[in-house]
Symmetry: C2
Subunit: 308 residues, 2 copies
Amino acid sequence: MRYITSMAQIIDGKAIAAEIRAELRKDVEAFKATGHREPHLTAILVGNDQASETYVRMKMNAAQDVGISSETRRLPATTSEHELLDIIDTLNKDESVDGILVQLPVPDHMNERKVCNAIVCEKDVDGFNVFNVGRMCLDMKSMIPATPLGVIELLKRAGIDTFGKNAVVVGRSKNVSMPIAMLMHADGRNETGAMDATVTICHRFTPPKELAKYCSMADIIITATGVPGLITKEMVKPGACVIDVGITRITDPNTGKTKLVGDVDFEEVRQVAGYITPVPGGVGPMTVAMLMHNTFTAAKNLAKINKS
Amino acid sequence: MRYITSMAQIIDGKAIAAEIRAELRKDVEAFKATGHREPHLTAILVGNDQASETYVRMKMNAAQDVGISSETRRLPATTSEHELLDIIDTLNKDESVDGILVQLPVPDHMNERKVCNAIVCEKDVDGFNVFNVGRMCLDMKSMIPATPLGVIELLKRAGIDTFGKNAVVVGRSKNVSMPIAMLMHADGRNETGAMDATVTICHRFTPPKELAKYCSMADIIITATGVPGLITKEMVKPGACVIDVGITRITDPNTGKTKLVGDVDFEEVRQVAGYITPVPGGVGPMTVAMLMHNTFTAAKNLAKINKS
C-alpha cells in the first residue's frame, strides 16, 4: 500500500440517512402516541419504467421503516392526463392521505408541469408545485424537493461551514440544481434557514476552462449533471468539500457489468478533497430520507389544519 | 484634459427606455385601432412616503406618454390591511383594469407578502405574486419584475453577449437581484428566453476579497446593493460590462447638495470597463419602461381571455 499524506473524509450519506430515519421513527411514534393516525404517503406510478419501479419501491420501504403507511397506485402507460388529474384530485381531498407524489417522468402525452401543479401544496411532498417553488425562492417555509433538502442536511450534519464560503453548483435543473443554488446562497435568517454562501451556477454552456477555474476557487462543489468523470482532481482545491448528486449507470468495459457512478472522479478527487460523498451511498439515501421527512411534515401540518 | 487610451461606452438607459416607449406607443395605438379600449394601470399608494410619491408620479407620466390610462389610488397610512385587500379584490374583478401595483413599501402593520399575493397573476405587473415568482424560476412565461426585465432588455439592446460568459450579480434581494440571477443563468431555449451565462451570486456575506476576485473574472457585473462606491476600478476586468442597479441619495460634503449615486465608482470604473450604465439615466428609466411593457402585456392577455 502506498503512503498517502491525506485522504478526504468520506461523508457517509447512508449512515446520516439512517440517523435521520431513526429520528423520524421516534417522532412518528410519538405523534401516533398522542392520538394521531399513521402518516400516509401515496405514490403514483404511470407506466412500467424499470428505474421508476426501483425508486418507488425504495421510497415505500423507507416509509414502512419509519412508520409511515404507504400505497403505490400503478396506472397503465395509456392513462390519459385527465384520468391522472382526477385521481390526484381525489387524493387531494382524501383526509387519510398526507403526502402525494407522482414518480417522474410521466409518459410523453402528459404535461409534467400540469401534473406537478395538480397536487395541493400541503400534500406536495416532492415540492414541485409552482407555488411551493415560488415560496422556496422567496425564502419562505415550503415543501423543499427531497434531493436539494438532502444535500443541505448532509452539509449541516457533516459540519461543513458554508457561511461566506465559495460554493459552485454544477447544473441548472429545476428540480435539483436550482433549489440547491437557491438554498446555498440565500439568507440564513429567513424561513428556509439557507446557507449564506457565495454561489456560482455553472452549466452546459460554461466553458470547461471556466468551470475548472470556478471549481478551483470553491470551498464546496455540488455537482448534479449526470456526466461521469466531469469533476477531476485538478479542479478541486485541497481540502474542499465535494458533494456528488450525479447518478449514472455505466457498463464496465472490462467486466461487462453495469455500475452506478457520479459526476466526480472519486478515486482521484478523494486524494485532494477534504470531504467527499460516494456514489452510491452519498446523496441518494438522503433523498429518500428527506422525502419521509417531508411526508411527516405534511402529516403534522394537516393534523393542525384539520383540528382548527 | 488628460489623454485617455480607452473609455467605456456608456449604455444610455434613458435613450433605450425612450426607444422602448416609442415602440410601445405605436403598439398601443395599433391595439386600440383594432377596437380595444385603452390599457389601464391602477397604482395604489398607501401613506405619504416622498420617494414613493415620486416613483408613482414617474410611472403615471410614462403611462400617459405611451397611451396607457392610469389612476393612482391614494390611501391614508392608517388604512388596515383588510381594507387594502378589499380594494385589490375589487380591482382584480374590474374588467376595466389591466394592471395593478401597490407601491412598496407598505406601512409596517401590513404583511407585504400577503398584499403582493393578493393581486391576481394576470394583473400583477410588478411580478411579485408568489405564483409569478415560481413560474419565472421554472423558466415559464410570467410577469417578470420591471427592474430585472429592464436589466435584461438593456443587455440585449446594447448587444452585450452573455452566452457562456461569466457574470456576477451583487446582491440577493428577492425583487431585483434574485430574478436577475435567475434570468442571467437560465436556459435561453425556455419561455423566459434567459441569458445562458455562468452566474456568481455575491452578497453581504461574501468577503470583500472574494467579491473582488469574482468581479475581476466577470465579463458582466450587475450590482444592486445600495452601497455607494462598492465596485471599484481594481475589481473590473478591462472591457467588462458594468450594470449599476443601485440608487442611493447622498449629500455632497462640499456643496451640501444631495445627488443620486449607484454602487459603482463611475468615474474610475469607466476607465477600464468596456460598457457601463450611469446613475441616474441607466437602469432607472428602464424600470419604468418595462412596467409599461408589462401593463400592455397584461392588457393584451386579458383581451384574449375576455374574448374567449
